[in-house]
Every structure is written in structure tokens, then in C-alpha cells.
Symmetry: C2
Amino acid sequence: MYLMTTSAVPTPRTPVTRKDVARYAGVSTAVVSYVVNEGPKRVAPATAAKVQDAIRILGYRPNAAARALKLGSSETIGLVIPDNSNPFFSLLAHAVEDAAAELGYALLLTNSDGNPAKERRNIRNLAARQVDGVVLASVLFEPDLADLESAEIPSVLLNHTGEAPGFNSVGVDLAAGARIAVDHLISHGHTNIALAMGSNVSNSLDGREQGWLQALAAAGLPEGPIVRGDFTRPGGYAAGKRLLAAASRPTAAFASSDMHAVGILRAIHEAGLSVPGDIAVTSFDGSVEAEFSWPALTTVEQPVRAMAEAAVVALVGAARGQEPQHRIFPTELRIRQSCGCP
Amino acid sequence: MYLMTTSAVPTPRTPVTRKDVARYAGVSTAVVSYVVNEGPKRVAPATAAKVQDAIRILGYRPNAAARALKLGSSETIGLVIPDNSNPFFSLLAHAVEDAAAELGYALLLTNSDGNPAKERRNIRNLAARQVDGVVLASVLFEPDLADLESAEIPSVLLNHTGEAPGFNSVGVDLAAGARIAVDHLISHGHTNIALAMGSNVSNSLDGREQGWLQALAAAGLPEGPIVRGDFTRPGGYAAGKRLLAAASRPTAAFASSDMHAVGILRAIHEAGLSVPGDIAVTSFDGSVEAEFSWPALTTVEQPVRAMAEAAVVALVGAARGQEPQHRIFPTELRIRQSCGCP
């Protein structure tokens, strides 16, 4: 099913060309092209205004489909994320859009809704649309890379920690991030520190779980209780209720994502307990929501903008035949109040 | 600047055609097309599997750019929203993506970052890419429709309340929604009810402000204090601090958006006051974040999914030459705890 534009008029008219615009504006066709593509060369504002006027008056529309055919490019990058309504991924999507726009690419956004089958369908659809590259933030910690391989388009795994030989990947050191969050709770004197872990489909231990274990071991502390649940606010809420019901209630908890932590805060408030007085909380991601939760969450911030830029740059590199790279970014602890700091 | 796909090999090879796939799979070219486009006709699973195998083995890629040229369609809808990181708009974007996918369209996402100039640039870029239609959630309450008109592509204004003659629009009755939120605070016995209004560029009174005024007038109550600020969490936080400093501190406040309310809650908590004990709060939007704030926000919920579907359906209608429609959806009060209900 296809939409036809309302601009279709009964008698076909000759399409306006770049040449027509150039003649009308009294500039070269190259200048028209710079204005339309916003580069690569700068055009003086007054000249650009003349060209914009000519474009508007003549009704010129650069033909993207024709350009795509001619140049073998649709100037479009596809993004596959688990859920655009998760503030971490919405921030990531926004950052990828900005980084892509910087290089003249538009962003096709697709949500996989935490569903591996939908993720595969989205990748296939993007490949069929001949996007110039795919940025995949998979719902799986070990995505099925055969889909990307068979799509034969440059791709990069974003929000990806493990190395995926033959693929570009960009992520953070989850274990190192978790260690600083747990170390911080230890520095506040806690000895019974729980882990609230988002569940994921993986055969290997999540880096955040490893980091939690490493920090406790290094401090000679016993393992606190572990609760697992969806990487969502309701998942965190359910996890929080189970934490409070634990035989030996922890005095602190490390949550594997901000959304998870937000749900835990609600469970603690509802039980009439206080954060950080009764239970201190630190978390992972660094979304804006963490700053405005009550109390404000001390969280391990991922450098979302830098990661998004690296992902888009990696796509360009992949398209030029560069060897795949595995880039790991450092994280930083944002200290607020949920940990017990003033 | 263009990316070349890594599939480019030194010696050009003849592209695999739909005919090749059909021959290999032993089906008609029409069946290949149904499988590739996932319709319009159903294909038996076993046959579809044969076609998928043939596609994979032969390395066939349907050429979206060629189809776009031939059919005058890129099967793509462009979305312009103020900020994908605002949970209301990220939910809206997700819903538009789902509604578009339902009809076979992919979604080009663009954020205007609350910047009217960027919004115009995004619309121009989408038009240049010959998207089949544009869904515009403008940063302006009275967007400059000349851009959409000159783009000559079907368009619909989403999250739009006023009527825009000649344009499709989809929105909610802001005034009616605000009235139920303020009436609810009145039913809790409040007589000094503030308004925390997100600032917007408009010559006319925002419907939410109208609704607040109407509800107070109908109850014979005086107008409480008004604070204005950005439609953001920090904007709400600043507004909340000013509310608390008001000469006659209100016992209740109606916030024009959930994000605004989240900021206000923080200001109230920081002042050592309680919600709803010291100040009751109701808000507008119905985002997930409202459910997980502390206390959970009583908020006027907008039917985001229904609105997104209506917007995409309106685009299809516009493309078929239907008269523009102005659709207004009802809102519903989600009662939680911030209002004073148990």
C-alpha cells in the first residue's frame, strides 16, 4: 500500500531542477547543492537566503530517491533499540540522531520491544530499505549476528560490552562501573549490600553482577541477597518488595539500571522506610529521571553522547572497509543523595 | 558524504533480481513480492520459508530506492517531535512507529530540541527525502504551517489542540482535561490552588490555563498563584521553588505536564514539606514516569496510542485527497496519591 502525495496535479508539469534554482538565484548549481545539503562548503547567509527563496518560489525538491539510486546510498542510518520509552534508550536514540545528522544522515528508528523476533524483523526491514548502516542496541546480550552478517550492511553494536569478533561494538565497562557504585556504598559503612539485577538472556554473567561480586570480595564482605526482575520500573518495584522481605534485610542495594532503581525507591517508600536512612541505593545508567527521583539517585553515568558518536563514526569506518573495533568507554559516578551523601 | 556498503566487490556483479529468487524457489515473482513486502496476500509458511532461503542464498536485496522512484513512495513517514527524551514524546514516537509499521511504513525520527528553527530544518529535510507524510508535534502552539504547505506532502499536526484550517490535526481537549484535574483538587477541599504552567510561544491562552481558570470560576474560588517555566523537570523544579516562596502559599497545585510536576515534587521534598499533606499536586500527560514518582502522580492521561493511530490514518487519508480533519480525543483522570486520595 502506498501513499500518493497531494501534490499530484492533473496535468504533469516539468520538474524543477537544481539548474532552474541556480539560474533564478543567480548562483552556480554547486552553491544550490551546498545549501540543500547544508555543506560540505559554507555559503554566505545572504546567498543562502537567495537560494532558499528560489527553492520556495519555484517549488524545487531535491529528489532523495534519485540521489540514493545514483550514489548507492539512502543517506539513512537505521537504529534498533529495545524500547524508546526507556529514558536511557530515548537519550541514546536522540544522541544517535544528532551524531547521524552531523554527517548528513537521517535516522530510521525501530523499537524491538524487548522481543528478539521483532529485533530480527527490524534488522531485515532496515536491510531491505538499503540503509547505509545499522546501529543495533540488542535486547540480547549475545545477539544473533547472522542477521547483520546476511544483511551485508555496515553495522555496529551499541550498548554492547562483550567483544564480538568481526563486528564493531561500543559499550562501557559494566563491571568497572558496578565496582565504583558498590565501593561507594561500602565507603558509607554498609556490609549487607544487595544486588537488584535486570534479567537478561545470556549464558555469561552480566558485568554488573561481576562488578558487585568483585567489590564485595575485595572488601572481604559476604554476598548480600540478589533479586532479579525485568529491566523496567515495575520490574524494579517487584524486586524492591522482595528485597524488603529478605530474611536479613540489606542496608544498601545496587540496582543494575536507573529504571530498576526508580521501582525499588517506590517499594521502599510504600513500606514506610527511608532512603538512604533505612536502605541506601546506587544505580546504573545516568538517565535524567535518576536526577529527579526522590531522593535523587547516585548513579553510574554512561557517556551516552560519546558512545552514540563513536557508533556512527564506526559505521562510517566500516563502510570504508576499516577493521572492526571494540570500543569501551569509562563510566563516572554521579553522587547525589540516595547513597547517603549529604 | 556517503557511505558505501561493504558488499561492494572489486568486480561488479549482476544484481540478483526478484525473477532469480522466484526461479530458485520455484514460485511466481508475485509470491516473492508478497514475502518481501509481508503482503498484501498471505503466503503459506512453507512457501515463505523457501523464498526466504532463496533470498538468503542468492543474496537478493529488494531495492527500496528503485521502488521509491517507480512508485513515487519511499514508504517512510517522518516524525518531528520536540524532544524524544521527554517521556511523553518518547511514548508518542513509539506509538507512531507502531501505527506506521502496521501499514508498512518506517519512521524517520527527528527531534527539534524545542527549537523552532530546527523544527523547520527538519521538515525541509524530510520533504527533501520525499517521505510519504510528516507527523508534526510542533514546539509551537501555532506552528508556521507554510513549511508544511510548501513541502507539498501529506501532513498531520499531532498533539495539537487548536484547529488549523486546511490541515489534519490530532489532539486532546486541554481545557476539559485541566478542569477535571482542578475539580478533583477542589473536591479534596482546596481553595488556594496554584497553576504551574509550561511556557510556550503563543498569542492565545493555553487550554490548560483556561481549564484551571474555568474550574476555579465555576467553584467560586479565587485564582491561586501562577508560576511559569520550561516544560522540563528543571523548569518544574524552579517553578516549585517559586510556588513555595509565594506570599500566600497554595495548598494545592495543578501542573501542566508530568515532567513539570516531577520537578515540583522535588522542590517540595527538598523544602521538607509533604505531598499531598502540605501541598497536593495533579498533573497532565499520563506518562509512565508519573506512576513511579513519589508520591505517584494523579494525572490527566492523554490517549497516546489512539492519537498516534489517528495521526497515521489521517496521513493516509490526506494522501488519498480526503478533506483535512480536526480530531480531538477525550482525556481521563488517573487517580493515584499526589492529590490526597488514599
